[in-house]
């Protein structure tokens, strides 16, 4: 599971609230435990265990490894306590209290902004020193039905056996409940069971009638408690007494073993606090959001410059002072040049050497090679080539997949290579080079290669190619088709069944592409081409009610405010008069079945969209602005009108749904949602 790169991240506030609540619960728990003395209430011990277990879970999930480790050490001791492996002696209770105190301190340090606080070694050693090695799972027979016996947790098994030792009866309460009301019925039975004795566990049962839900409660009842009466209160189908209790509780439980004074095993030294981020001389680390804000401002400045240029031109055309006109034109030309260089300069701030990426790839390559038993070198050229920081981060997964693929399917085992007359050590070379506004990453291995005819044969076999389809001009492109993936034969390295189709999709989402060529016997080359900077699309952003949409700027002919005058009825349907043309008109809300907005009075803006072939007019609630947007494609499996192709974040945080202008115009031409009569 991917964790946030910086511990906590967006979750730190939530983590703190949750952690404080759990520590509060645990604090009450240990107070109650102290009051119980040497014979603690098992429910309390278990509740304390669960609080600390949950704390470990949330700390681990948000990336506070130090807190999770500390909670783990305390959890292990509490597990021993609830399982009866260590007694609830004052020494153990003291250690638990101290452990909780230390956890509170760690959480307070997180709250104070520390990234990675850890438990001091001495306390950790003490907690670990009290923990008993886990014993093999109890083998004593509880005389339970085998399917139930198999699904008992260690703790439940312990509670059941403890109940037996204490002279309690073990009873199975079988419930047979209606589908409609089983929640309530089960809840009632569980609370009755807890009131009568100890509810050890709730298990699925076997329903006699497939239209009913069956559950089975395992309950420990104190001596003298009437199992049949409990059955009646629970509306049970059946009550089975697994083992009868004794008339009186035994004098004492099995003697608890005292922890021997075993010295803690020499634990490996704790790693010190994480090294402070290195600050190289002459380098300033700037959060990406600040760079993004600058890029946005540069974009807006460029738009303002264009607007100024237009109005200045008009104003100067009528100016009589030729000297002043010349000066104004010269000043504007200078401004124009500066603004034109500002955008690329701001974008360049996002560029980092591709080395940050290739270093990661090299480490993963070495690990993968040794895991697969391959001997291979990874040689990189062109590490100084610059690439967008976001791309460098996002490219890691797809490129790693290509590398794994080369090791898994390309490079042969050392023995196979020797017998083929190749050097034992394989080689994967990565060459990175800029090419115009793109960066080309070429991975070449000297492995066994891919046989084009074999690829085509496999595609026919799996149905990707029909029997009568001609051979494709680029058979290797089939490798990237969903369903071709050899990941069906999942190897440990290929992992999660992610095939090359996912690599292609991910690269496409980043505005890139990938292709393969191969010579059987001598190797395979993957060529990945990505934009140097993420491609931003100038878009008109409009709003209908609460929903924002983005239309590519190149598809917008004009926008008009309150253009009711231009609307006329032609051929039985609403049209918009734009010059000589009568364009079909549609409301965007009606088109997408959105609730009709309040102010539908003809004063709303009209957007005239065109796709090079034809044009259409679109009524919206508001035109929010023009921005350069990074439009992300939306997967086909997300249900939506086909005119919505992706989504983009608008400066300010709103999400605009990206419209395919061609599809939208076609839809408007084919008739309005209300139905065309002509």
């Amino acid at each position: 599971m991917t964790r946030p790169k910086k511990p906590g991240g967006a979750f730190s506030g939530e983590f703190l609230a949750e952690a404080e609540m759990l520590l509060e619960e645990a604090g009450c728990g240990i107070d109650a435990l102290d009051a119980d003395g040497d014979d603690p209430n098992p429910e309390r011990v278990n509740a304390l265990f669960r609080s600390v277990h949950s704390l470990k879970g949330v700390a681990g999930m948000v990336g506070y490894a130090g807190v999770a480790d500390a909670a783990h050490a305390l959890e292990a001791l509490l597990d021993d306590l609830r399982m009866g492996r260590v007694p609830a002696s004052p020494a153990v209770r003291g250690a638990v209290r101290e452990g909780l105190g230390a956890l509170s301190t760690l959480v307070a340090r997180v709250a104070a902004g520390e990234d990675a606080p850890r438990l001091e070694t001495p306390l950790k050693d003490r907690l670990e020193g009290l923990v008993r090695p886990a014993e093999p799972r109890g083998t004593e027979s509880l005389r339970l039905p085998p399917e139930l016996d198999a699904s008992l947790s260690d703790y439940e098994r312990h509670r059941a056996s403890e109940a037996g030792k204490r002279g309690k009866a073990l009873v199975l309460v079988d419930l047979d409940l209606d589908f409609d009301s089983f929640d309530a019925g089960l809840r009632n039975a569980m609370s009755e069971a807890s009131a009568a004795g100890e509810l050890i566990g709730t298990f699925p049962g076997t329903a006699a009638d497939p239209a009913r839900m069956a559950f089975r409660l395992l309950v420990a009842l104190p001596p003298g408690c009437d199992a049949a009466a409990l059955g009646t209160r629970c509306s049970a189908r059946d009550v089975v007494t697994v083992s009868a209790g004794r008339a009186a509780p035994p004098p004492s439980a099995a003697p608890a073993r005292l922890p021997a004074a075993v010295p803690a095993e020499s634990a490996p030294p704790e790693p010190g606090p994480e090294a402070a981020p290195q600050v190289a001389r002459g380098v300033v680390r700037v959060p990406l959001e600040k760079v993004a804000a600058l890029v946005d401002l540069a974009g807006e400045l460029a738009l303002a410059r264009s607007a100024l240029g237009r109005s200045l031109g008009q104003a100067l055309a009528g100016a009589s002072d030729r000297g002043a006109r010349f000066e104004a034109q010269r000043a504007f030309a200078r401004l124009d040049r500066l603004v034109a260089t500002l955008g690329p300069a701001a974008l360049a701030l996002r560029l980092v050497p591709v080395e940050t990426l290739t270093t990661r790839l090299a480490r993963a390559f070495a690990r993968t090679a040794s895991a697969l038993g391959r001997e291979a070198d990874f040689v990189v050229q062109g590490v100084e080539t610059e690439i967008d920081k976001v791309l460098a981060d996002e490219l890691g997964d797809p490129l790693l997949h290509i590398l794994r693929n080369a090791l898994d399917h390309g490079i042969e085992s050392p023995e196979e290579r020797s017998s083929a007359g190749k050097p034992r050590r394989g080689r994967v070379a990565l060459t990175v080079a800029p090419s115009g506004r793109e960066v080309v990453l070429t991975f070449s291995d000297d492995g066994r290669g891919v046989d084009a005819a074999g690829v085509v044969a496999k595609a026919r076999q799996t149905g990707l190619l029909g029997a009568t389809d001609p051979d494709p001009s680029d058979p290797f492109a089939l490798l990237f088709r969903p369903g071709f993936s050899t990941a069906r034969e999942v190897s440990e390295i290929s992992g999660r069944g992610v095939g090359l189709d996912v690599v292609r999709e991910k690269l496409a989402a980043l505005g890139g592409r990938v292709s393969v060529r191969s010579i059987p016997g001598s190797g395979t080359t993957f060529e990945v081409v990505v934009p140097m900077t993420l491609v931003l699309l100038e878009s008109l952003v409009v709003r209908v009610g609460e929903v924002w949409f983005a239309l590519p700027g190149e598809n917008v002919r004009r926008t008009l405010q309150g253009a009711a005058d231009g609307v006329e009825i032609v051929d039985g349907r609403a049209c918009f008069r734009d010059g000589d043309e009568a364009l079909p008109l549609a409301r965007l809300d009606a088109l997408f079945g959105l609730p009709k907005s309040a102010g539908s009075d003809g004063a709303e803006p009209v957007v005239v969209a065109e796709d090079g072939r034809r044009a259409a007019a679109l009524v919206v609630d508001a035109v929010e602005g023009v921005w350069d947007l990074l439009v992300k494609p939306l997967a086909d499996s997300v249900p939506r009108p086909k005119e919505i192709v992706g989504a983009a974040e608008v400066p300010g945080g709103e999400i605009a749904l990206a419209l395919d202008a061609g599809a939208l115009i076609a839809r408007i031409h084919s008739g309005p949602a209300e139905g065309r009569t002509a």
């Binding site: 964790r3 979750f11 399917e147 997300v638 919505i644 989504a647």
Partner: protein, 137 residues
Amino acid sequence: MSGDGLLLAFRAGGERFAVPLDRVREAARPRRIAPLPGAPPEWSGVALVRGEAIGVIDVAAAMGLSHAHADPAPLVVVLYGSDHALLVDSIDGVETYPAGRVAPPPPGRGALHGIVAEELGFLSLLDVDRLAARGER
């Protein structure tokens, strides 16, 4: 699916649900979830997570439950193997149950693999593929 293995447990609409941990890519708090016109009601819309556009399924709505409150900072669980995320109210953590604890799901309760009875109610094991497919046209 067996009930063995690790589960990510979370709450939605006041009830507890879980999905197999190996299907979970990450939990995230997107700044916005943009509603998708024309999508079935259990789709709450589109979120941008790490720059990717992801369709968000509202677990509470899909299960016929209502949200306790409108969350100003929605919490989603992003899944592997699909371009979907689940909108949830809060995350309980990683849990595990032996297969023997999982009861078959009652019919008519939505896309579930099974349910596990717990001290305070139920943990419903979501069938994420069926959940997403229900919304497909």
